[in-house]
Symmetry: D3
Subunit: 125 residues, 6 copies
């Protein structure tokens, strides 16, 4: 286990360990390397960097994934991650509404329905 | 001039009046209504909302436009807007690097070259 | 209730009230403001404008949503909306086939499967 | 020269022969087959189909290319093509404004600047 | 039945007849022409061309559909098609991992989950 | 200088050192870390992996960047990289034509014009 992988797992513990464990289990049979890269590059190399706090980093990710509209599962994970690092539900809702301006209303509406699911799942847990 | 339009112009004064004036001049002959809608919907209706500070709003916009990769001029304007509402250059650079994870390295590299231009233009002004 | 909101609801009555009511119910707990914006901006500000008839407006929307490929639910709603304002099924099918040229065959095929669902749901109603 | 190619060239004469000739010249050294496919598939197979008039077909194409935001030269050609088959400038402007709803304001603004160029070039000719 | 259609069906027999038959059945009631175009243009006109072997052609298609992220069903069909023309599972996995670089990690992860389904379905058959 | 960075630079020497040096120079003042990540993740971690030859890897990248349509400079670099690792011009042209099927004709045409530039620049060098 590389130092970067360990560092990534530690960072994931702060942010969203549960989603990562699900991902790792899903990829185990087909491509464990891809799961390792997720820990090593985004989490060890990027999310541990200075100059931008984790709340702002998750706001950026929620905004981008809402705008792109092609990764609903990852958007849901990052909405939960955003809550885990201190974003309020209201802040996340605002980020998603704002995406109507930059990616159109369907992107914002679809993002909001995913936020609804994410919040409900977190309330149940 | 509608109340929303006036409210949008006030909000633009706080954020990026100069880019809006350029946009308005460019659209004057062909579609002044589109320029008006920009003031009324994004700036009067959205950017004035509560629950998310303007710095976070510009981080969300810079992230989304970097990830989408189809709006270089608007990305440049919002990088300047982000600086205007209090983001540091370092914070903007971090948002753009992070987009390599969610939209690929070309999106991050292209976003960074636009940030370079935005910073240079602001230094000259 | 703002004048624009009322105007948007009236316009929706002509176009696709049922889809809007579903959307509004879905957003009620999480972001009623986003539902309100849908009535106010697209329906009161845009779809009521002159210079382009509603049939052409729905053709434009069906084309764009088919090409983007990220908003299947909204595409289905607008296919129904297109029928409601006077497009024939044949016209909608032609718009979707044509998108193979501009967004690729998968976009056209996926759009067509959504049209099939939309037509079946309308036949049942 | 296949029958489909001839049929495509005839259709292009009705719609936008000039843009096609430029495309053909540009592709001549590298891939004349791609130019031939453009005449054969979009123009012979698709644009000659029944059940949707050419004005509506160009509205669909202008909408899609504005929303996608990745093909500014082709958007400009089709704005000219739309005029050639009978769309008014005002109709084209409306289609582009409407795309703010489905693909975001930057897509609509960038599309409008391309329309401005297209109209100016047509006025000069 | 046109010569191109017959040629396309022959090519599909080499590549992925089963997926095409499913597509054709799905489109039968709504747009048999779109199914015919799929045989005629991609399969008769493009996949039969010289200068690039079928393995490389399917690698290109799997890469593009993974990166675009909007056509999961077509990606699954082409992963099966890639296997049918001689790609190994390991090669397909590598193509999909590589897309993390050009379209972001969510695109690669979503592509990998589709490959998992494709491989499982092929093992069952 | 990390081992991964060194390994990435060695891989780039095989593939496209010149484009990387340009990128590195462009990013030097604003984000040398992003240039380092390009060497470390795509080139050290991904392009050195087994199970897929470099020619196929560049075919995958050229396909994806042509289909996405948002990274013309990177597409040009990878067309040159594809030539450097043994692809023929004809193979690259075929990959790009094929993208008309999956991402539409404008994506293929725009990709072809970039290939034309790449080939011309390589002939001059």
């Amino acid at each position: 286990m590389s130092k970067r992988y360990q560092k990534g797992l530690e960072q994931l513990r702060l942010m969203n360990e549960k989603s990562y464990n699900t991902l790792k289990a899903n990829l185990e049979d087909i491509s464990p390397d891809l799961a390792r890269f997720v820990a090593e590059f985004p989490y060890a190399d990027i999310y541990t960097r200075e100059n931008l706090d984790l709340k702002s980093r998750e706001i950026a990710t929620v905004a981008a994934l809402t705008a792109l509209g092609t990764a609903p599962l990852q958007l849901k994970s990052h909405i939960k991650g955003a809550i885990n690092v201190g974003c309020s539900k209201e802040e996340i809702i605002e980020v998603i509404i704002q995406m109507a301006v930059y990616a159109g209303f369907p992107a914002a509406i679809n993002g909001m329905m995913i936020a609804k699911e994410a919040f409900e799942e977190m309330d149940e847990e």
